[in-house]
Amino acid sequence: MSKKALAGPYLVWMIGFTLIPLALVFYYGLTDASGAFTLENILAITSEERIGALWRSLKLSLFSTAACLLLAYPLAMILKGMSVSKNSFVVFVFILPMWMNFLLRTMAWQTLLDKNGVINSILGFFGLPGQNLINTQGAIVFGMVYNFLPFMVLPIYNALTKIGNDTIEAARDLGAGSLKTFTRIILPLSLPGIISGITMVFVPSLTTFVISDLLGGGMVLLIGNVIEQEFTFASNWNLGSGMSLVLMVFILISMAAFARYDKDGEGAAF
């Protein structure tokens, strides 16, 4: 059996589960209910509500990406400084929650943040006033950070471990202080990891509708919800696909922008 034949299953996989569905999205997105060509589904994004939802999604996913970066970078630095046996345990602990279904974990946060939830009960126990935590934009950003943080930590950690200690020592020998070593050596060398982390957090944050449904209580409309609504409630696959195409454009732009910094794919997480 030739090596090429072994690639067969993957080819079937890619065609069946990526290319054909993608072609269907394009087909539905560019046609109307009768099957005639139209750009209406794409242009529908210009309506006040939809463009508003898109901006809101961009805003919230930028917040969550920034928060993930701020949390993940120091953690990755700490992990790099640890001995191998210790840090593999920390990485393990970090990945552990991912063994559980993402929906269930988000629903658990629903219970924690709820008006009568665990956090407010604890506050109440100490005589503090209950906080309105859930069903806000803040809760959605929180949910995004919680769910996507590992996707930021791992690529950055990966990139950092590739920086040899000799490189850092050389910088020190040449008279660079800690700060200068960080800004001139460590940060630039870990850039591919940062970029790939940003992509891996930004894209799912931008497209999510589950987190905004569960932690936003339907009060905050994101572009993912607009698309979901077209499919599940309005039965308008054409419009839903059109919106998905618009979203895809945004994702492609962001990935193209980031790809310039990550030419060798060094920051790949896995």
Binding site: K115, N116, M219, L221, F231, F233
Partner: protein
């Protein structure tokens, strides 16, 4: 070499598993199959096994969450189901599009048990009662927690009461949602008049800052746990909820409301029409209808099942709404594509309306 052959074997196993999922060979199910597409949690699953045992027909059972989710799947025709259980207005829509087939009532003798007034009500969407057999029915009303809400509730306007801020839940589905403001304004719940809808939508926007959230099924958890105290709710949920939290009370507002009938229908071109009719007939056996009622707790139109109920259950207005309640309620009608679009646009505006969250 060894490794290579392992990979090949794995590939074959995967392929075999994959293929066994496709196609239902006649040898495997000599009694034939029936492909049922029903609402989630809308049957006692034991009933499926009992049906298979009694008839030898294998049931392929799938579920959906909303009428709108089910519709394009039937319309696209990629999967052919034999029996569906849509709501009134969706049945009307499917009949108008020629997507349903008339039932052969010779195969469904148990349809005789269906309550006459419900059949009469069904004529709103199925004028000859020829396409559908009612399965469940119920009203849309207000559910509230008497231990928190210190007064009697009997009007939709109570959902706009500022003293209940943060305690109110509204349905996350557009037609249900609009029932409240439309009835307060004394407009039909089937209106497609742009000005009336705008007026209603304005009310909903004003209400948004008072809400805890828009929900579907989570209404149950929130009302049982007490994290919300007043909610728009379908009567079918009420019995289960009252068992968990006896402080919950259900009322159909005086302004009137929606009443729905979910019925079994058979799509045009169903491959196993007779099996589907056997399925519908089986569900209407009194003891089976009662078993399903006990599980899903939505009101059943099956008189045979009603005869099996105890006094207390029969007196619960949520379970068996009397003619006085049904009189002030309206069935949803299919509004046509332009009507649906209007509601949809209103909803999009409402959902994107910033209520300061």
């Amino acid at each position: 070499m060894k490794r290579k052959s392992n990979i090949i074997i794995l590939t074959f196993i995967a392929a075999a598993l994959f293929m066994s999922g496709c196609g239902y060979d006649k040898e495997r199910y000599p009694g034939g199959v029936v492909k049922v597409y029903n609402w989630g949690e809308y049957i006692d699953e034991d009933v499926i096994a009992q049906f298979e045992e009694e008839t030898g027909i294998h049931v392929i059972y799938d579920t959906y969450e909303t009428n709108e989710e089910m519709f394009p799947i039937i319309e696209a025709g990629g999967v052919s189901y034999d029996a569906l259980c849509p709501s009134d207005y969706m049945i009307e829509k499917m009949i108008s599009k020629g997507m349903l087939t008339e039932l052969n009532f010779d195969n469904i003798p148990n349809a005789q048990y269906i309550r006459a007034d419900i059949l009469q009500g069904s004529k709103a969407f199925d004028p000859e009662n020829s396409y559908s057999v009612p399965y469940t029915f119920g009203t849309l009303g207000i559910l509230y927690n008497t231990s928190v809400i210190g007064r009697e509730i009997n009007s939709w306007t109570d959902l706009w009461d500022e003293s209940f801020k943060g305690e109110i839940l509204m349905y996350n589905s557009v037609r249900d949602l609009f029932v409240a403001p439309l009835r307060i304004l004394d407009y039909s719940i089937n209106t497609t008049d742009e000005a009336q809808l705008r007026e209603a939508n304005q009310m909903l926007k004003e209400q948004k800052s008072l809400l805890q959230k828009y929900v579907m099924d989570q209404v149950k958890d929130a009302m049982i746990s007490g994290s919300a105290s007043i909610a728009m709710c379908y009567s079918g949920e009420v019995l289960t909820l009252q068992e968990e939290n006896p402080n919950l009370k259900y009322v159909v507002p005086e302004e009137g409301s929606n009443y729905f009938i979910d019925s079994w229908v058979i799509p045009a071109g169903a491959e196993n029409k007779e099996n589907a009719e056997a399925w519908i007939n089986f569900l209407n056996k009194p003891e089976i209808a009662y078993q399903n009622f006990e599980y899903i707790t939505y009101a059943t139109p099956n008189t045979g099942a009603i005869d099996l109920m105890d006094e207390e259950t029969l007196n619960n207005p949520a379970v068996a709404p009397g003619p006085d309640i049904l009189k002030r309620c309206e069935v949803f009608h299919y509004l046509g594509e332009s009507g649906e679009k209007k509601y949809h646009q209103m909803w999009l505006e409402l959902r994107s309306y910033d209520a300061g969250r």
